[in-house]
């Protein structure tokens, strides 16, 4: 059972990382415009003509 000594803190730390990441994404406004995010991926203007041909 000694394995619990480090497994439990590791599990909790992983969970906390997820929680902090979510709170950070919420704070930075990533959920403010969900529909916009869905359509913004469609335009290909970030790909230059050359790379599309090549």
């Amino acid at each position: 059972m000694n394995v619990l000594i480090y497994l439990v803190p590791v599990a909790l730390a992983l969970g906390l990382t997820g929680l902090v990441a979510f709170l950070w994404s919420l704070k930075s406004g990533q959920y403010d415009d969900l529909d916009g995010a869905a359509v913004r991926i469609l335009p290909d203007d970030d790909i230059s003509q050359d790379s599309m041909l090549g």
């Binding site: 059972m1 906390l16 997820g18 709170l23 403010d32 415009d33 916009g36 359509v39 469609l42 203007d45």
Partner: protein, 762 residues
């Protein structure tokens, strides 16, 4: 005339000296639009940041210092082919946004903690059945406490605060038993852990919070979405006024006017604020104010009200302090009285929790007493009593009603009904009598030409000529023009009419005198009470074109369907009996009254109320506002006067009356589902409570029972989505999917034909 568009009231200055404006944008439907607008505006010199929120259809622009005139930004968006309307973010909306984020943070914390504690709890449950040592179990319980206590203290705040608020005013709401349950569960678990007991309820407390926060957040989300939409609509509808600053005319938002300002009201425009005429004379249409359809002649010294339409001559108006007009005074006074008299209807959820909390707490106390009497130890008696509290904690009850409300308000939203108040759903479902106002509610807000009686060729020419005029009657006629190109060289003579060369011959449209026709008695409105006439003549032929209020296209079908559903329909109008009678007859309304002033309308509604009826009032005029406030529940079309909209429980969009029927159908079904859900919650308690009283509830059973009942009521609420509420009667009314609002700011109000359309953000 070159005008200055003054939007400075909408610009916010940031502390760093930059400027910031929010615009409601319409016509945005795809990714291409976002890119076009954002890159188009980024090219303006000085612009730092442009961001289009696609969900909310809002554009936020930041620029350096005061380098750009906000009017230029609006112009730039309009040049790209979209409508842009300056938007003053309401303070209430900002508060709702903060509240939503806070709830989401609480939800995240509760979810994280519930998952981790459940991980430890399941180990304990399986360990209790096998060979887990007491030390390991204690370690797991202490770890659970370490996670659960801070998490519950944070995530439970929405409930603790609301429960405290209710207790301070000596009331009980649903959050009181929730708070008691959570706090007791945690306290008991800590003391059990300290005494090395086998069971702790940390996971139950956190799971409870997680489920309840889900319900809370959903509720909040729907409310926020309708608020955002209503805010956009308000800015789309916002009126502009021509303010006289010395010799110059500046176009300013009507909200920015202050008492003492002088405004110019041109023919065809809506009066932007209450005031006194100081120069000019004209006839004004006050149908939005009084319900009266015949125009009133005004001259210098007359009091006029916001929302009236100026017909013939330009007026200079001095803006007076709000509510100085006699009619407005009267309406405000009646409103105050109606608001005071209105007994706050108790919401279904609150009624349930008022019954529920005492029953649950009494049962818990009796359980403890019973076990003590039966000879159990004090510790065991208290543990059993707390288990009763935990298992009966109104998890399902607190989800039962919000879940249905979320689904129902979403459905109402899609059918073009925007709720102003949270409990409107329940009150709409209770209505058994529908009282309609006539002008602007049963009829379309703008008059239309009676096309049937006129030669189509002549009508087309007259309508095309009307395109060149701003007179409200001409604007109504212009909507019939198939070819929407004005005749070149058309000249408008103010107060008389418009003339142009049509295929080589002069055509004239306007007053009888202008067209050289003898002024017969029919033009003064005595022969045909409903219609106003406009005369068209060309090449010796002349025609009188009647312009009248027409019923909304589905008004008859909707009224018939309402009657078929067992509601009584009544028409109360401020207009003359001669115009109300035919309308009531066509609709088949059971009763009608005409020529009522606001006080008389209230009197009729009070009479109905004293007969035990629950009245749904549908009205749009300023004169309807007190009646709306007095009724059990009220609806307004989006074209209604501002004060009236503010007092309506819900607004409906579009040219059709269908949303009224749909609102009744959806809410009745929602109410049925709410009651079903409450019944489910009661059945759950009836099963779970005896088990808990018997002392058989372990944390495992509590976890299963609570999640099962919550999921059950949520699924039942979602049933509302699966089946569309009953057919709409003979003329099925399709759900409105787009709104047309008179949008082009500063344009004559009548130009609805060109009004912008705006899609729901669903």
């Amino acid at each position: 005339m070159a005008e200055i568009l003054d939007l400075s009231t909408f610009v916010e200055r940031t502390p760093s000296g930059n400027s910031h404006i929010t615009l409601a944008v319409d016509g945005v439907s795809c990714a291409g639009c976002i890119r076009k607008i954002e890159s188009g505006l980024a090219k303006l010199p000085g612009v730092i940041d442009v961001r289009l929120n696609f969900t909310q259809k809002r554009l936020i622009v930041d620029w350096r210092g005061g380098e750009i005139d906000p009017a230029r930004i609006v112009k730039a968006v309009e040049d790209l082919g979209y409508g842009a309307h300056p938007f003053a973010p309401a303070r209430i909306e900002a508060a709702e946004n903060r509240q939503a984020k806070w709830l989401l943070r609480c939800l995240a914390v509760a979810g994280f903690a519930a998952m981790n504690v459940m991980l430890l709890s399941i180990s304990v449950w399986s360990g209790n059945g096998s060979d887990m040592t007491q030390e390991t179990r204690d370690l797991f319980h202490w770890l659970s406490a370490l996670i659960a206590l801070p998490a519950a203290a944070y995530a439970g705040q929405p409930f603790f605060q609301s429960a405290w608020g209710a207790l301070r005013t000596r009331q009980l709401n649903m959050d009181v038993p929730i708070t008691v349950g959570v706090v007791l569960a945690l306290a008991l678990s800590v003391s059990e852990t300290a005494t090395h007991a086998a069971h702790a309820y940390f996971d139950s407390a956190l799971m409870l919070l997680f489920f309840l926060l889900c319900g809370r957040y959903l509720d909040q989300m729907v409310r926020r979405r309708t608020k955002v939409f209503a805010g956009n609509l308000a800015s789309l509808k916002a009126e502009f006024a021509h303010r006289l600053d010395g010799g110059e005319v500046a176009r300013v938002p009507a909200d920015a006017l202050s008492p003492g300002d002088c405004v110019l009201v041109r023919p065809g425009e809506r009066v932007p604020a209450d005031g006194t005429v100081i120069a000019g004379s004209s006839a004004i249409d006050e149908s939005l104010v009084t319900g009266e359809t015949a125009p009133r002649a005004v001259a210098a010294g007359a009091t006029i009200y916001a929302g009236s339409i100026n017909f013939s001559g330009a007026l200079t108006v001095r803006v007076d302090t709000a509510g100085s007009g006699t009619l407005v005074d009267e309406v405000e006074r009646l409103l105050d009285k109606a608001m005071q008299a209105k007994s706050r209807t108790v919401r279904l959820a609150d009624r349930a929790s008022r019954l529920y909390a005492p029953v649950v707490h009494a049962t818990a106390a009796l359980t403890a007493l019973g076990w003590l009497v039966a000879g159990a130890s004090v510790h065991d008696a208290i543990v059993t009593a707390v288990a009763v509290l935990i298992i009966t904690c109104p998890c399902a009850l607190a989800l039962a009603i919000p879940a249905v409300q979320v689904v129902a308000s979403g459905q109402l939203f899609r059918s073009g009904v925007i709720l102003n108040t949270g409990d409107a759903i329940e009150r709409l479902a209770e209505a058994d009598t529908v009282v309609f106002d006539k002008t602007g509610t049963l009829t379309l807000p703008e008059p239309c030409a009676d096309a049937a009686s006129i030669d189509p060729d002549l009508l087309e020419r007259a309508a095309r000529l009307a395109l060149s005029s701003r007179h409200p009657l001409a604007v109504a006629l212009a909507r019939h023009a198939r070819e929407r190109i004005p005749y070149p060289g058309a000249v408008e003579e103010p107060g008389a009419g418009v003339r142009a060369l049509i295929d080589g011959e002069e055509g004239r449209l306007g007053s009888p005198a202008f067209c050289g026709v003898a002024d017969s008695e029919r033009y003064d409105g005595t022969a045909d009470a409903e219609a106003s006439f406009i005369v068209f003549c060309r090449g010796g032929r002349s025609a009188d074109i009647p312009i009248r209020q027409v019923l909304r296209p589905d008004a008859v079908a909707v009224v018939q369907a309402l009657i078929a559903r067992g509601l009584e329909v009544m028409v109360l109008s401020g207009d003359r009996p001669a115009t109300v009678a035919p309308v009531a007859e066509r609709l088949g309304a059971q009763q009608w009254r005409a020529g009522l002033n606001p006080a008389e309308k209230i009197a009729v509604i009070e009479l109905l109320k004293s007969q035990g009826r629950r009245v749904l009032m549908v009205g749009d005029g300023l004169n309807d506002a007190p009646a709306l406030a007095a009724a059990h529940v009220s609806l307004s079309p989006i074209s209604a006067a501002d004060l009236t909209q503010a007092h309506a429980d819900a607004l409906f969009l579009g040219d059709r009356l269908g949303p009224v029927l749909r609102a009744v159908a959806v809410t009745r079904r929602a109410r049925m589902l709410m009651k079903q859900n409450l019944a489910l919650a009661v059945i759950y308690n009836a099963v779970a409570m005896p088990v808990a009283i018997a002392g058989l509830v372990t944390p495992l059973i509590a976890a299963i029972a609570m999640s099962a009942s919550s999921i059950l009521v949520t699924l039942n609420a979602l049933r509302a989505r699966l089946t569309v509420p009953g057919a709409v009667g003979a003329g099925a009314v399709p759900a409105q999917t787009a709104v047309t609002a008179s949008a082009s700011a500063g344009e004559p109000v009548g130009s609805v034909a060109r009004g912008a359309s705006m899609e729901y953000a669903s």
